[in-house]
Symmetry: C2
Subunit: 307 residues, 2 copies
């Protein structure tokens, strides 16, 4: 499970930072990729990575500002053109359906895969045996949401080597032991599955937030998360400007991370007013409040740590 | 007057060729730029040029396929964000209005300049004292148009030096002479403006066509043009495929150029199936039929020749 940042700029594309997009790579977990936001030229950014558009299973849109959605129609079309045939689900705030339906209709883009569009609000967006995705409204000029992605705990693994060493050969019995049943062997022994099953692996939690001022729901979504992705459009001294434009500063994002007790903070949505030389300073500002802060760039790839 | 190719690929963006866009630079003529088509990431391409989005005065859309329009909402928004305040007119086939209005509304993109959207069909789209733009329907899977841009002839310049040498000092009289009037001077001489005015400069004609199979209207639009921009999605041997997908080959484009008796042919909308090594071969194919053929690339800049 990795996060691959595809666009880490704010508002308009710049040479060094494209507009927003972030891929949650779930290749090992489900041979799939989930995209969070899809600013213009996200598919162009993807051309410079190993990401296959046909593997994109879900796209979550935080809010409908152009720098977060204008790459969607093109990406959906190219995914079809490049042979994608499996269903794709787009989750977005109310309005995403009209935008996509009109864009695809006007351009006569005929997708060769089923496209499902879900307009969501606060609450549970998706759940299966592996993952759960919840959304809460943040504080932005338009309805902007944050997501809490919860990986479910994994059952401990069965210690097959130990079983073989004790003369219990592989067979249907292993399945019962894995479910921690107590089993009577043909040789008279009684063994307990729990003695052969390792500890369960705690699932990870990632919080990915859309544009926002600092707010309670940001903390709520990020509570004890392994990793928080938070916007920081402005540097610490521009708190007033951040407030006026419904954004956050580096230090406000770091305060959210500290309050929520997360494992790591990724700062993104960096205004192009900050040149490359400034990025280190922005990161240092955040670290004065939350030490595991990182200002990410386009193509930064982060393995999600376990707690 | 220059043509700056911003996107010369077909269908989907590729690393070496972006989707369609072409800037007609009219900086000397009217301190303005006219854009023809606006595929996704056209504004990103512009970042690598000296073109200022606020100078874009008109955008002409040949047809509504995604690779020709998906960059429009983002470019319109960025033009505003970057301080553009002058009116912008978008000319497109029927449907362009709904696409733009829905995209701008959903994304809450509030432009700080007047945007005028004109849905056109065959005929005259625009005319002023300098230029005339006409459109005709071509032969594509959706309604696709070509444009004939006619620069008006320029009046000859008044030879002020010769006048001064003959003892006729500058004054209101120069304006009358420039209009080739006959004037009686105070010293009794009668002089004819036509003797002091150079030959008129013939305006140039450029034909810029959208995606199309070879067709009569292509020839019509390009007749005696100084320069023709024609798609050539496929190489000469793929005529059947070109027909099936409503496109042209290099050689078909060259035949149109020859038949229309143009000065120069620019081949664009090159499929990504052709690697960089193939581009030269494509150009050679076209030159077997029309010698002044050129396969253009992203950022190719061509001065429009006079005849
Ligand atoms: Zn926003
Ligand atoms: Zn087309």
């Amino acid at each position: 499970m990795n996060l691959l940042f595809l666009g880490t700029g704010a508002g308009v594309p710049a040479k060094l930072r494209n507009v927003s997009a972030l891929a949650l790579m779930l290749l090992e977990e489900r041979n799939a990729v989930w995209l969070f936001d899809c600013g213009e030229a996200t598919q162009h950014q993807i051309l410079h990575t190993s990401l296959k558009p046909r593997k994109i299973e879900k796209i979550f849109i935080t809010h409908l500002h152009g720098d977060h959605i204008f790459g969607l129609p093109g990406l959906l079309g190219s995914r079809s053109f490049q042979g994608g045939t499996t269903e794709l689900t787009v989750y977005g705030p109310r309005g995403i359906r009209q935008f996509l339906e009109v864009s695809l209709k006007i351009s006569e883009t005929h997708l060769k895969y089923p496209l499902s569009i879900i307009e969501y609000g606060d609450g549970l967006l998706f759940e299966d045996s592996q993952f759960k995705v919840e959304a809460l409204l943040l504080d932005h000029a338009v309805a902007s949401y944050g997501f809490r992605i919860t990986e479910k705990d994994k059952q401990g693994t069965l210690d097959a080597r130990k079983l073989r060493e004790e003369g219990i050969p592989p067979g249907p019995i292993y399945k019962r032991l894995k479910e921690e049943e107590t089993v009577n062997l043909d040789d008279g022994r009684t063994i307990h599955g729990s003695d052969y099953v390792g500890p369960p692996q705690k699932g990870r939690v990632i919080a990915i937030l859309g544009d926002t001022r600092p707010c309670k729901n940001a903390v709520e979504l990020a509570r004890n998360a392994n990793l928080l992705v938070h916007e920081s459009t402005f540097s610490g001294e521009n708190e007033e400007m951040a407030r006026e434009y419904f954004h956050s500063t580096t230090m406000q994002a770091a305060e959210i991370a500290r309050e929520a007790n997360v494992g790591m903070l990724c700062l993104t949505h960096i205004s192009s007013r900050y040149a490359k030389e400034d990025w280190n300073r922005l990161e240092k500002e955040a670290r004065t409040i939350f030490s595991d802060s990182k200002v990410v760039s386009d193509f930064t790839n982060i393995a999600i740590p376990f707690n």
